[in-house]
Amino acid sequence: MSETFVVTEHLNGEFQDITFEMLGKAKSLGGNVTAVVFGSMKDKASELGAADAVISVGGSDDYNPEEYAAALKSLLNEKNPDLVLVGSTSMGMDIATPVGTALDIPVIAYCQAIEASDGGYTCTSQLYGGKMDVESKVSSPAIVMVSSGAFDGESGRVSGSPSVEDFSAEYGAGKVRFKALLSPEAADVDITQSNILVAIGRGIGSKDDVEVAEELAKALKADVAGTRPLIDAGWLPKSRQVGKSGLKVKPKVYIALGISGAPEHIEGMKDSSTIIAINTDKNAPIFDIAHYGMTEDLFDVVEDLMDEL
């Protein structure tokens, strides 16, 4: 029977969504599912009911790249599972490839789909800014980095009482030291609570067009959000960032202006009830997940719309 390890992820003492998404997927692949937990998270093992077993490698409660990678390496070295699922996330990134490379286990990143196939797995990664699906075949053992939001979290979010085993792991040489967790700055608006969001991306011409979005938002009683490049450019505050390194939002209506739909962004908004995308590039990936689309110049559309309102 195949053995799948799910490397759980937690922050502030809570398992992250990706944990349950991976557990759900692991379960659907069949075989034995073991959740690997760090720090004192074994105390919350009951939340990991989708796993058959929980192995605690201990270590500090605060994520530490060096320590967690060393612990996982020592664990895998001994247990040799067929498949290891790690989040294709900030935390997973520091663990998956170092362990895989050190143990000569192949790693596939950005996975959106995983299927068992003869003696191994077929994984589909979304690459090139979401413009290509790339399928890879690996033989087991393999480490697969799972994109957040790729799988449904609900089937993995089951409480239960998996067996809990302590594993005495190695933790590395202490060259990386955790100092502090910094919470997001208090924001004027909590966009995760917004009913309607007007989101802008690189496709808007200039900073002045932010005003156009703001006007539209005002008319729709919506809030303004944006993609990473805009936030980096200082056009919007960090608290308005939607996506992988920003916030995950699920508004009733998400209006994407000039957003091409890079996977990092889609991860943060694809669960919105209705997505309306306006982008002049008809090939933009955003149109694949949007419910409604327009390819007109967004400035014109918004102006026309404002006239209609």
Binding site: S90, T97, P98, V107, S125, V138, P184, K252, L309
Partner: protein
């Protein structure tokens, strides 16, 4: 402090991407390559370190079309040295990391800044693999760092706007998410000038290793889902907004 920045060219996503006859790779004919945007951030951060704290910055890249310009551009930006690794054709991040690692072992370094990821790193990001080969610690998704002696204090980003502060002993590899300021544009006249006065060091590629141990079996544009219902006018959009309750 000696800071090395490995640079990598990736397909420019502005172009339409096509799959070639094998069905497993991009059609090279229509590809145009540009510097991985996160590598640009890594280079900028390195130059910022040099300008603010003093550091020796070395840019390194694997030979190929456009690499000379890339390396001269790095010099024009303020790098102290550019190295071109010749005779290599890495097929994935693992081989790329291995080639860089061999070169870096000879060159010596205190800090390696890589772009946190690239659009084609199917078998994992360069930074963590490189760090493993170099046997030094790695932290990815870094935005903002400060150096004091051989200790680097940095911010690592998580999702949801959370960040964590870490201390890392050098030598180390960091995957840079964003430089402290937008990567600077380098004027062509400066690059042309550097081309006349500076030289790029060349080194032979070392062992590329066996790679990631996985192969691409198929490449295709994402299957079009239901796709968006396309609207033609503001009136239609208005109707939709009313229908979904935005008005």
């Amino acid at each position: 402090m000696k800071v090395i920045v490995p640079l990598k060219l990736v397909p420019d996503l502005v172009e339409d991407l096509e799959v070639d006859g094998s069905g497993k790779a991009l059609d090279k004919e229509d590809l145009k390559f540009k510097l991985n945007e996160f590598d640009d951030h890594a280079l900028e951060e390195a130059i910022q370190l040099k300008e603010n704290n003093g550091a020796e910055v070395v840019a390194i890249a694997i030979d190929g079309e456009g690499v000379d310009k890339l390396l001269f551009t790095a010099l024009a930006k303020g790098a102290d040295k550019s190295i071109k690794i010749t005779g290599a054709d890495p097929k994935d991040s693992h081989q790329l990391a291995k080639i860089f690692a061999e070169a870096l072992k000879n060159e010596g370094f205190d800090l390696v800044l890589t772009g946190v990821q690239s659009v084609d790193d199917r078998d994992g990001q360069l930074g963590p693999i490189l760090a493993t080969y170099l046997e030094v610690p790695v932290v990815s998704v870094v935005s903002g760092l400060a150096v004091s002696g051989n200790v680097i204090t940095l911010h690592k980003e998580y999702s949801g706007g959370f960040m964590a502060e870490y201390e890392v002993d050098s030598p180390a590899v960091l995957g840079i998410q964003a430089a402290r300021q937008t990567p600077r544009y380098t004027p062509v006249s400066k690059i042309r000038q550097i081309q006349e006065t500076a030289t790029i060091e060349s080194v032979d590629a070392g062992d590329a290793g066996v790679g990631s141990g996985s192969e691409v079996s198929k490449m295709a544009p994402p299957a079009k889902g239901k796709g968006a219902k396309m609207l033609g006018s503001a009136e239609e959009l208005l109707a939709v907004l009313k229908e979904v309750g935005a008005l």
